[in-house]
């Protein structure tokens, strides 16, 4: 499937996977309104590794949530793989996320009571896969992130970098269209962070995964194929001082 996507991207003119059009996002805090995104446009071609930067509170996570179907825009459209996801009901959105989005969190968000393998199997519970197929998929995903031998370990028995690799294995286990990472190296030291970035880069290059990564770190952003900056509700390709 990943191979087809790469082939498709090569033959056609840019194959746009994510289309964000004229999106406004306003949060209400009591009587106060917080305008986070204003008339934001963004197109992400299939197979891109996009880094999102910007000051704290500029709305990077908000934008990532809109693309991942975790939240809806106040105004405008969000289209992923040709589907308008801003119009879906909560329940449809949940099953859409399960099929199309892999999420990687800054603090890994693993279930402490489950082993690495069971953690990776978690999103597979939402697919029609059988128990043994779930197991095969989980083992494969752990193999890809280089943790095949740690499948019986619990999160507390793993280092931060290893936990994040389990997090990535969980995100790719369902073979999602889109990988969304919110500061995936934010809680790791340089070395562990670099290993995670190597992994993401490999997933992008070798498996053609489309990745959007929010980061505060220019070194991390340098691994991406493109970097955009969020400021005052708009995206720019150059950082604004």
């Amino acid at each position: 499937m990943a191979d087809e996507q790469v082939a498709g991207a090569q033959s056609d003119a840019p194959d746009i996977l994510v289309r964000v059009k004229a999106v406004d996002k306003v949060f209400k805090r009591g009587s106060e309104e917080v305008h986070v995104l204003g008339g934001l446009d963004l197109e992400i071609p299939r197979g891109e590794f996009l880094a999102l930067m910007g000051p704290s509170g500029s709305g990077k996570s908000t934008l990532l949530n809109l693309i991942g179907g975790l939240d809806r825009p106040t105004e405008g459209q969000v289209e992923v793989g040709g589907q308008r996801i801003d119009k879906l009901s909560n329940r449809k959105l949940a099953s859409w996320r399960a099929r199309h989005v892999g999420l990687v969190f800054q603090f890994y968000n693993l279930m402490p009571v489950l082993t690495a393998q069971k953690n990776v199997e978690l999103p597979l519970l939402l697919t029609p896969l059988s128990r043994s197929e779930r197991k095969t998929h989980a083992v494969n995903a752990l193999d890809i992130v280089g943790l095949a031998n740690r499948n019986k370990h619990y999160p507390r028995q793993l280092s931060g970098g290893e936990q994040q690799r389990v997090g990535i294995a969980r995100a790719i286990a369902t073979d999602p269209t889109l990988l969304l990472c919110d500061e995936p190296t934010g809680d790791l030291d340089r070395k562990a962070g670099d290993e995670i970035l190597d992994l993401l880069q490999a997933l992008n290059r070798e498996q053609g995964k489309t990745i959007i990564m929010v980061t505060h770190d220019i070194h991390a952003a340098a691994r991406a194929t493109r970097t955009l900056y969020l400021n005052k509700g708009q995206l720019t390709s150059e950082p604004i001082e």
């Binding site: 949530n65 975790l70 996320r97 399960a98 999103p123 519970l125």
Partner: protein, 396 residues
Amino acid sequence: MLNWIAQIISVTRFNLLSLPQRLGSSTAAVFGIAGVVAVMVAVLSIAQGIMKTMDNSVDEDRVIVLRSGANTEMMSGLSGEDTDLVAEAPGLVRDEDGVLASPELFVVINLPMRGTGTDANVPMRGVQPQAFKIRDDFQIVQGRMFEPGLNEVIVGSGALREFEGLEVGSTIEVAREYWPVVGVFESGGSLAETEIWVDAAVLQQAYRRGNSFQAVYARLTSSDAFQQFKDALTADPRLNVKPMRESEYYSSQSSTVTGLINGLGTLIAVIMGLGAIFGALNTMYTAVASRSREIATLRALGFRSSPVVISVLAESLLLAFVGGAIGAGLAWLFFDGYRAATLNWESFSQIAFSFAVTPQLLMLGIFFAMFIGLLGGLLPAIRAARQPVATALREL
């Protein structure tokens, strides 16, 4: 659908797997609920026990006749002629010694209670030989029967247990005369076991009652004969009496006490139950809060809210069930068969009874616990599910 059930099972499973991390607040909730259920079941078992004693006393073939207008034997009064007329009414069993109708005298005496030593009322009943035939499970279990014409008494096993100085061989003072206790009787766990029995003629003399009685107990040929018996008595212009089935009589006797105890039990259960609901609410809010990262993550991954709600409820119900079972079990262990006495509010004499923790009460206790668990889990569960995913993720 299958998928949805699989979601519920797996979410509930790691909910429960993570229970040990929340042992403190969970145990507190379990014991809170156990306490409530134990108290509720114990209190309600009092009413059950009294009703059981009353039930043991009841035989559908037995009737009691009082003067009309009297609700209790204490208030009733029948002349010797009255009792003869009652015995002549149709529908009563007749054997070689005559009709099974027993005119009885009923007085109340004072005796010190065991333990506290304070005086309480004890019924003393004057009987004739028919009385023993009418109560078919009557038997002397210790000593012997009193000698007719002598100041001798036999005491019920319940009375012996509750009051001082009723052992065989001791003597009680009644109406300025001394009465030796010559025997102990049982009567199938019925109310009579709380009484002291003597020869009716001797008691009439001691209390200067002439030839008067207070009630006639009689045995019907069958339960259906009651109407005929009743009609004959009420139609007789020479009589002014009220015939009742024994069941009717006893339920009117005990309804005040059991009603009061049931009401009190329910009130206590409701008040303590409210406390337990808040305890459970608190526990489940804590449980949900401590798992908010996990719940938010699950929902972000695409799990629906209903498995989350159900898993929280399942945990709360499980805790409640354990608490309810412990509470009901404790009540059963400590109170079932526990012997006590209470005032019969109609005759102001004592009723000896045992707390009865029935299977129905155990079920009721566990159901009540589950109800507490359901209410306590519902709000936190709904809150966890209602929160938008993006907001839930931010709050980590």
